[in-house]
């Protein structure tokens, strides 16, 4: 499990923005008033968490903006940020979005699993090892001033939650940037991003349809748990699909 020196680096105010920057931000999401989750099934990756106590701003036609004020981690790749200069672009073409993941601190939450059962020990142990695809572990910092000169306090154990990605402007990140991630740990962020966005290797409907009539040449069991199993099927044309079944 990484410690603070492996993970964080000091960032000066004048430094270029970078993937892995951590900043204090207002994160906005829009929704219809009173909109609830889509169903009852628990899916730790697909389930979008409700952030603590958003400020709400009304929009016309039964819509609203929910604003969460919290720390967040920049996940936009650094070379993508470098290219966001918009030189020679017209004013109406200008934009400045960075994708960020909200940071969830341990003291604020009680992690729950299926059926709302609290499972702090199991969850935090897995998060510390970056086992889940949807989180990046952020270790505690005993003295924040060692990474953010002038900032007082202790940073608790936390994780960046990739399920809550949203966008903010560059200038907002620059104004309230706390610190950044080391180059080595940026690699872990990128690994987690790759896992998160490719985890759903489950077959899409059209892939399944294209397999109809083909001979299955290989069946590879991938993994299974108490409530699910997954297998990869390879067709005689070399195409492949992964199928997941749930046992309950």
């Amino acid at each position: 499990m990484p410690d603070a020196a492996d993970v964080y680096r000091r960032v000066d105010e004048t430094d270029e923005l970078s993937s892995g920057d951590i900043a204090f931000l207002s994160l906005a999401r829009t929704r219809t008033v009173g909109e609830g989750p889509p169903g009852e099934a628990f899916d730790p990756i697909g389930r979008i968490p409700a952030y603590p106590r958003p400020a709400l701003r009304p929009l016309p036609h039964g819509r609203e903006i929910a604003i969460d004020t919290m720390f967040a981690l920049v996940v936009t790749h650094s070379c993508e940020i470098d290219r966001q200069k918009n030189l020679d672009a017209s004013a109406d073409h200008f934009d400045c979005r960075l994708t960020v993941a909200p940071i969830v601190p341990e003291p604020a939450v009680s992690l729950v699993g299926p059926d709302g059962v609290v499972e702090p020990g199991v969850s935090w142990s897995a998060i510390e090892h970056n086992d889940p695809v949807a989180s990046l572990y952020l270790p505690p910092i005993d003295d924040l001033s060692s990474f953010a000169p002038g900032v007082e306090g202790v940073w608790p154990r936390a994780f960046a939650d990739l399920r809550g990605l949203t966008t903010v402007s560059r200038r907002m990140v620059a104004a309230d940037r706390l610190c950044g991630l080391t180059p080595a740990y940026l690699g872990m962020l990128q690994r987690q991003l790759a896992r998160f966005f490719t985890w759903r290797d489950i077959a899409r409907h059209e892939l399944l349809e294209s397999m109809v009539g083909r001979r299955v040449e290989a069946v590879v069991p991938l993994d299974s748990g108490a409530d699910r199993w997954r297998v990869a099927l390879t067709g005689d044309d070399g195409s492949s699909v992964t199928i997941e079944g749930r046992t309950k």
């Binding site: 931000l25 730790p44 199991v122 889940p132 104004a175 309230d176 993994d223």
Partner: protein, 131 residues
Amino acid sequence: MTTLGSIIEERHITYAALAARARLQPRTVRAIATGETPLDRVSVGTIRRIAAALAIPVAVILEVDDPVHPGDAGQTRTARLSAAVREVMWPRGATPYPYPSPVEAGGRDEIADLTADEFFSGMPPIDARRG
């Protein structure tokens, strides 16, 4: 003097009277009101009882200031960030809210055992034209 101490003084009530109303020990109330016991060492339940007995919001006793906002020009950047860490990362007096764990039920996959270098080592070379 603490905010609670000021309120008790303004209302001309005794520690014992307030303690009786809040169903607490008088010495507990006195220690909180005088600052002898710091607020961060007092249980949320005790604060709630005192607030209810005085018919005031819990936040008044907790001396919660206006929440800090990103970009607040009324504070320096470092003061703003220090306040944000205190308020956002260590929410005082708030019960931790249930939050869906990101841990999957199916257990670890093979990638979870790979370092970032190992994970990316088999990737094809990056197209230089794409930066």
